[in-house]
């Protein structure tokens, strides 16, 4: 479904993604792991076609079609949703306005406002609150809910569990697992290794912009030496 080959991306002269290759299929959660500054967010931003970093080499294909050169909104409309790092909710928009940016509130097909609110009941109680009036957990839920309203086939999630209470992380993991069961592909960037391993089918580890490890999650889960080597955890 999503195929990235030999991708090179730069912030100015800084070569932040150095020939990364990976793929994500339907029905699977792929975790992209790595320490801070290793290029995970840059890779996700490159897939979304955001202005920086600048991709200078390589290819990103989605269902066989090239994504490079498309505007972010064109990529999103190809059913690739994005949950950005830090949520980046709109401070002046209410919960409902976040969910109806592309679809009207009365839409009946795919993900609807009602379905998102049923998935995240807490948001239903906050429907008229603005993005800057929500708690950390509510912000996390809304960022995922907003992405779901695109009826995505692939979701790029950049540290969705960041700053969440353990009970919220658990809820998010359940939602991610459910989404994969419903046929979505999910590329999950996580600092929280154990949260990522709880939901992922496969794992990539990025180091200085290169994929240095690829395998089933069980493989890395049971190899403490690799966890220490790549992620600095024991």
């Amino acid at each position: 479904m999503l195929e990235i080959n030999d991708l090179h991306a730069y912030y100015g002269d800084a070569h932040v993604v150095q020939g990364a290759s990976l793929n994500v299929d339907v029905n699977e959660v792929v975790a992209l792991l790595g320490r801070n500054g290793m290029g995970k967010t840059s890779l996700i931003r490159s897939i979304m076609g955001l202005a920086s970093p600048q991709v200078k080499r390589g290819s990103i294909n989605w269902k066989g079609q090239a994504l490079l050169g498309l505007a972010p909104f064109e990529i999103a409309r190809r059913k690739i949703a994005y949950v950005p790092q830090g949520r980046r909710l709109f401070g002046s928009l209410t919960v409902i306005e976040h969910l109806t940016m592309l679809k009207s509130a009365s839409a009946k097909h795919g993900w609807t406002v009602e379905r998102v609110l049923a998935t995240f009941p807490r948001l239903a109680e906050r429907r008229s609150h603005r993005g800057n009036q929500l708690s950390g957990g509510e912000r996390g839920m809304l960022a995922v809910g907003r992405a779901l309203m695109l009826d995505p086939e692939l979701i790029l999630m950049d540290e969705p569990s960041e700053g969440l209470a353990p009970v919220m992380v658990q809820h998010l993991e359940d939602v991610i697992s459910d989404l994969a069961k419903q046929g979505l592909g999910i590329l999950l960037v996580e600092q929280n290794l154990y949260s990522a391993l709880a939901v992922a089918n496969r794992v990539y580890v990025l180091e200085t912009g290169k994929v240095v490890y690829e395998g089933a999650k069980e493989a890395i889960e049971h190899e403490p030496a690799k966890l220490t080597q790549f992620l600095g955890v024991k």
């Binding site: 979304m48 955001l50 202005a51 505007a71 972010p72 909104f73 999103a76 409309r77 994005y82 950005p84 980046r88 709109f90 401070g91 002046s92 928009l93 306005e97 109806t100 940016m101 592309l102 009207s104 993005g131 907003r146 992405a147 695109l150």
Partner: protein, 285 residues
């Protein structure tokens, strides 16, 4: 007392005109991060187009609509033809729009010459009406009503429509807005057209009680800048508050301290900038 009410009405009606012009300015400033120094020239062009159209058709309404449409098209040409080459480079955008302002001024001079024009007021709005204890020009009361109407219409558009939500999202975070599947360039363009058309409407309406002459663009631009700086970039309520403050201070200042009329506007503006750099209702991007 009567004199005071007259001044108050003068201030309010001038504030209404300022709001019509500055609301377009603040929309463009807030969403596109462009200090559009050609906004005054768009006002002047709108006024002159309105003047010629009213002369030609005899209809003030057609004149005002023609002003809005013509200046909206000018806005599209400015955005798609020039500003797209300097996206994100704020200083270049400022210099570019300043250059466009000079260019439009010269074009206006070529077409309409250096004379002073006044847009003919429709017959129904001629004469005076009693407002409290004074007789006051009907036309200026119409401008006051139009200013209130524009405020309500824009407030409803921005706060209660999906387009308005997209504009607010674009003000908050254009990159994320685009990543959510929104063609932010079209939102930008639509907002630029709306902002420009408000300058055109201001020109047509203001041209009937302020004269249209070479240099009128700079005068209205300075007032609009003051309104937006006081109110805060991108804020409709801020623009209304700023317009009220500037309109009333200008009116009172001209009567009470004529030598200090400008200081009475720009002194408080400097104070607001010192203590609230983002303006009264401005927010960080």
């Amino acid at each position: 007392m009567s004199l005071n009410l007259f001044q108050l009405l003068n201030g309010l009606t001038f504030a209404a005109l300022l709001f019509i012009v500055a609301s377009g300015f603040t929309l463009i400033f807030g969403l596109l991060r462009i200090v559009n120094l050609a906004h005054g020239a768009l006002y002047l062009f709108g006024g002159l187009v309105g003047y010629s159209t009213v002369k030609l058709t005899g209809s003030f309404l057609i004149g005002a609509l023609a002003s809005m449409a013509f200046v909206a098209i000018l806005g599209v040409a400015l955005d798609k033809g020039l500003l797209r080459f300097v996206r994100g480079a704020e200083l270049r955008q400022v210099l570019l729009t300043l250059g466009v302002a000079f260019l439009l001024n010269d074009i206006a001079l070529v077409i309409w010459g250096g004379d002073t024009y006044t847009v003919p007021v429709p017959e129904a709005l001629m004469g005076a009406m009693r407002v409290g204890s004074v007789f006051y020009p009907k036309y200026r009361m119409f401008v006051l009503g139009l200013g209130v109407f524009v405020f309500i219409a824009l407030w409803l558009l921005i706060n209660h429509t999906r387009l308005g939500a997209l504009i607010r999202a674009g003000v908050d975070d254009p990159e994320t807005t685009e990543a959510m599947g929104i063609n932010i360039r079209m939102v930008f363009l639509g907002t630029f057209m709306l902002g420009a058309s408000l300058a055109g409407l201001g020109g047509a309406v203001g041209g009937a009680f302020l004269t249209l002459h070479p240099g009128a663009d700079a005068e209205i631009l300075v007032f609009s800048l003051a309104v937006v700086i006081i109110g805060g970039r991108g804020s409709l309520v801020g623009a209304a508050t700023g317009a009220l403050l500037v309109g009333l201070l200008n009116s009172i200042g001209q009567v009470v301290f004529p030598e200090l009329a400008y200081f009475i506007i720009f002194g408080p503006m400097a104070l607001i900038l010192a203590f609230r750099p983002l303006g009264l209702f401005g927010r960080t991007a």
